[in-house]
């Protein structure tokens, strides 16, 4: 760590998905799907996991921990399952590949 790294004034979120996943967790907790205490336990667990898998964990992967924690919690709460998620992710990936540049990407209704 050097002083310079501490001095950087960074934007609140580096990429839009980070803002989205931040908001999803806060909102779901507010709506009562899980308590904030459960949330901090979940994210602490993901941080430890990441460190065990040799993530230097310098803060730049923080929202990846956040995403892992949220996925795990929504599965645990039975709100979503992993198959739905895998399928939906693939659907979005295909939607991008099938959408000409410059047109808003939308999921095809199946």
């Amino acid at each position: 760590m050097n002083k310079k790294a501490y001095d950087l004034e960074e934007p609140v979120f580096d990429e839009p998905w980070q803002a989205q996943v931040f908001a999803l967790a806060v909102k779901l907790s507010e709506d009562g799907l899980f308590t904030w205490k459960q949330w901090t336990a979940a994210i602490s667990y993901e941080i430890q996991n990441a460190q065990i898998s040799s993530d230097p964990d310098l803060g730049d992967t923080y929202y990846e921990h956040w995403l892992n924690a949220l996925e795990r919690l929504v599965y645990a709460k039975g709100v979503l399952n992993i198959d739905e998620m895998t399928e939906r992710k693939e659907a979005w990936r295909k939607a991008y590949l099938q959408t000409p540049h410059g047109i808003a990407v939308q999921l095809k209704k199946t």
């Binding site: 760590m1 002083k3 803002a19 806060v26 996925e71 979005w92 099938q98």
Partner: protein
């Protein structure tokens, strides 16, 4: 895959796709509302930030009664006086720096932080080196911020949790007698309210 002569959209990164999947499924199930998410993001990108905390500190510097009230119940006092309230603003404890004590805050487990007064934490606050080392070697870590704490001064490290979050009230810089609250608040940085730096000097 892209066809000849036609430009198709490159899918975003893996986490971005996972978030899109998560979000679209949760919206379909009626568990979240896109508009509410947008409002929340806008709040933390543009509305809530360390300027809130700076106003609290500046008031504490000029108003002894207010300072006592935030030492007694910081969350209630900032809600009453400034209207700052909401997420991660419950149970804020104000810790005051003095000539004998320097306070500094960390969250050793994750990144608990008083959002209502400081906004969201900076990247380094969430980093493993800061989280792990501040407790072991506070003087050394503070020195890396350019903050030298004399040996005779005690350093108190406060570990934020999901239940209690801390706001450091830095020492009021010398040479600021008679300054307005607004002018004083300009000397109060985010880092000073985490306790890794001092408030800016009057001449800055």
């Amino acid at each position: 895959m892209p066809h000849d002569g036609e430009e198709f959209t490159e899918p975003p990164s893996d986490p971005a796709l996972r978030v899109k999947a998560l979000e679209s499924l949760l919206v379909e199930k009626g568990l979240v509302d896109l508009e509410a998410l947008d409002v929340l993001i806008d709040t933390y990108e543009h509305k809530v930030g360390p300027r809130n905390g700076a106003r609290v500190v500046a008031r504490a510097w000029v108003d002894q009664e207010f300072k006592l009230s935030i030492q007694k119940d910081c969350s209630a006092a900032v809600k009453k006086v400034f209207g700052f309230q909401g997420r991660q603003g419950e149970h804020i404890v104000a810790v005051e720096n003095t000539s004998k004590i320097h306070n500094v805050v960390v969250c050793t487990l994750c990144s608990c932080y008083p959002w209502t007064v400081l906004g969201l934490p900076p990247v380094w606050y969430k980093s493993a080196p800061y989280r792990a080392r501040l407790v072991q070697d506070p003087r050394g870590v503070l020195a890396e911020f350019g903050t030298c704490i004399p040996e005779e001064k005690d350093i108190r490290v406060w570990d934020s949790t999901s239940e209690v979050r801390y706001l450091v009230i830095p020492e009021r810089p010398i040479g600021t007698e008679g300054w307005t609250e607004e002018k004083l608040s300009m000397l109060v940085t985010r880092n000073a309210m985490i306790g890794v730096e001092f408030a800016k000097e009057a001449s800055s």
